[in-house]
Amino acid sequence: MGKKLLEVRDLKTHLFTRRGVIKAVDGVSFSVDKNETLGLVGESGCGKTITCLSILKLLPNPVGQIVGGKIIFDNVDLLSKSEKEMRKIRGRRISMILQDPMTSLDPLFTIGEQIAEPIRSHQNLERTNLRKKIIEMLKLVKISAPEARIKEYPFQMSGGMRQRIVGAIALSCQPDLLIADEPTTALDVTIQAQFMRLLKEIQQEFNMAMIMITHDFGIVAKVCDRVAVMYSGKIVESAGVRDLFNHPLHPYTKALMGALPKMEEDMEKLTTIDGQPPDLGHLPPGCNFAARCPEVKEICRCDSPILSEINDGHVVSCLRVQ
C-alpha cells in the first residue's frame, strides 16, 4: 500500500450544548492512503459527518469543539493550523461533496461562475485560461456540450447533472483527498451508478484518496478498499473490504449486514437490531452497543472495549472477540 495521506489519531469532538456535552466523536482513529477509498459506515447520528467536518475544521462554532487527538494530513497536524492556513487547504487539497445536489449549488449564479470560484481563490489564472479550465472540468464530469452549459443556472439541470457539477467544483483544484458525504443518496439508481463510476475514474486519474461516508454497505462493496464502521461516536470495526464482508467480527457489523435485503439470495427474515442508539449526552458505562447487542455478556456492561488488531489490518472493538 502507498503511504499514509491522512491519519486521524484519537480524535475527540464534542458538541457543547445547553443540554450538556454531547460526545459526537469519541476517540476515533483511522488513516487513508494515497489512491485509496475508505468507507465510513454508520447510521444517522453516529458521528461520521462530524468526523469529516473536524478534518476540515468546519465545525459549527462555538458548539462543536475538537477537544483532543491529532489530524495529520501529509505529515502536518491540521489542528495546529490557523484559520487562514486552513482556507488554503480546503477546496485545494481536501474537498468535500455533500449529500443534496439541490441545495449544494447557489441558485443565483451560473454553473460556470460556481466552478470558477474555488479555482480563482487558489490559483492565478487569466480569463481565457479560467474558461478553458472550467470547460475541462465539465468535460471531466461528463457534461455534454460544456461550452453551452457554462452559462446555465442550476435550476435548468436535473439532480444527477447537478451532483456532477458539485463534483466538478470539488475536483477543480485537483485535491489530494475528497470527502464524499453520502453523495448518491438523493439520486436514482442508474444515475447513482453513473456517478459512482465517474468518481472512481477520476480517482484513478488524479491519484486521489477518498473518504466515502455512507450508510449503505452496497456502496461500500462497490467502491471502497477499506471500511471503518462507526457506532455512537466510536469506530467499532475496521478492515479491508473483503475481509470485513467475509468475516465481520463486531456484532453491530454483523447485524447491519444481516439487516440488508440481498438480491442474490432469498431470505425469509432480516436480522434486526432492537432498540435505539444511545443518547450521546448520557452514555452508559461499558460498551455503547451493549444494550442492543445480541451477544452481550456481563462484562460488556461495565468495561469499555478498546480497538485491537485481530489479524493484519482488521481491528475490532469488542470484548467478546478479544
Binding site: L15, T17, R18, P60, V63, G64
Partner: protein, 277 residues
C-alpha cells in the same frame, strides 16, 4: 439539523416576562394599586419634578396629578384594547385565512385581494379618518384597530395553511374519508395555533403604539381617563418639564419591547423543527 436547533436555543427573556406580568397586574387591579387617584388633580402641587416629593415619586403633571398613579391606571386601557383587538382581529384573520388557504380558488383570490387592498392604505391615515367619523371612545378604538389588524394574521396563517395542506397527514386524512370541516378543525387548526400565539404576542406591541399614537393625536380614549398616549399628548406644551413625557414614553417602550422579545423567543421555541428534536 442538529446545529440549528442548538445555536437557536435561547434563554427565556425573564425581564420581559416579569415586566408583562406587572403590566397585567396593573391592568387588572390598576385603581386599587395606584397610591393616589389618577384623575384627582391639585393645582397647587402641579409640575413637581420626580424623586423630590415622597408622595409623588415620579412627579406630577400640569394639573398636579400623580404621574406614577396615572401610568399604573393607564395600563388598564392599553390592556383592554390589546386583548379585545387581538381577539377580534385574530378571529377574523384566522377564519378567513383557513377558508382562503384550504378552499383556494376564487375564495382565496377574493380574500387575498381584500388583504392586499387593506395593506396598501396607509395605516395612520385610515385610522385618523375613521376615528374622526366614529368619535373617539374605547369601543370605537377597538373596532378600528380590529378592522386594521386582521390582515396580518390572514396573510401569515394562509401561508401556514397552504404548507400544512400539502403534508402527508392531511393526505392520509383525506384517504380515510375525513370531511373538509374535520380536516380544518382537527388537522389544520391545531397546527397553526403556534403561529397564532406568536402573531398575537407581536401584535400587542403594535396595538399599544397605535393606541398611544391615536391618543397622542387626540383621537384616542377621551380624557380625563388616564392613558399612556394621552399623557404624552398632554406633555407637548411642557417640553421643559421632561418627566411628563419621559415616564409614559419609557413605559410604552418597555412594554412593546418586552412583547416583541417574548414573541421572538416563542417563535424559536415553537419552531416545529426545533420541537421534533
Amino acid at each position: 439539523m442538529v446545529f440549528n436547533s442548538i445555536t437557536q436555543m435561547r434563554r427565556m427573556p425573564i425581564f420581559s416576562v416579569l415586566f408583562l406580568v406587572i403590566f397585567l397586574i396593573c391592568g387588572i387591579f390598576g385603581s386599587s394599586l395606584a397610591p393616589l387617584d389618577p384623575t384627582d388633580g391639585d393645582l397647587s402641587r402641579s409640575l413637581i419634578p420626580p424623586f423630590q416629593d415622597r408622595n409623588y415619586p415620579l412627579g406630577t403633571d400640569h394639573l398636579g396629578r400623580d404621574i406614577l398613579s396615572r401610568i399604573i391606571c393607564g395600563a388598564r386601557i392599553s390592556m383592554i384594547v390589546c386583548i379585545m383587538v387581538i381577539f377580534f382581529a385574530g378571529s377574523i384573520g384566522t377564519v378567513l385565512a383557513l377558508l382562503s388557504g384550504y378552499i383556494g380558488g376564487k375564495v382565496d383570490i377574493i380574500i387575498m385581494r381584500i388583504v392586499d387592498t387593506m395593506l396598501s392604505i396607509p395605516y395612520m391615515m385610515i385610522a385618523i379618518a375613521l376615528a374622526a367619523i366614529l368619535r373617539p371612545s374605547l369601543f370605537n378604538i377597538i373596532i378600528l384597530l380590529s378592522i386594521l389588524g386582521w390582515t396580518g394574521y390572514a396573510r401569515v396563517i394562509r401561508g401556514e395553511v397552504l404548507r400544512i395542506k400539502d403534508s402527508d397527514f392531511v393526505k392520509l386524512a383525506k384517504i380515510d374519508g375525513c370531511s373538509k370541516t374535520r380536516i380544518l378543525i382537527h388537522h389544520i387548526f391545531p397546527n397553526i395555533v403556534n403561529t397564532l400565539v406568536i402573531l398575537a404576542t407581536l401584535q400587542v406591541g403594535a396595538v399599544i403604539i397605535i393606541e398611544s399614537s391615536l391618543s397622542f393625536l387626540g383621537l384616542g380614549v377621551p380624557p380625563p381617563a388616564p392613558s399612556w398616549g394621552g399623557m404624552l399628548a398632554d406633555s407637548r406644551s411642557y417640553i421643559s418639564n421632561w418627566w411628563l413625557s419621559t415616564f409614559p414614553g419609557l413605559t410604552i417602550m418597555a412594554t412593546v419591547l418586552s412583547c416583541n422579545l417574548l414573541g421572538e423567543w416563542l417563535r424559536l421555541q415553537m419552531d416545529p423543527q426545533f420541537r421534533q428534536k
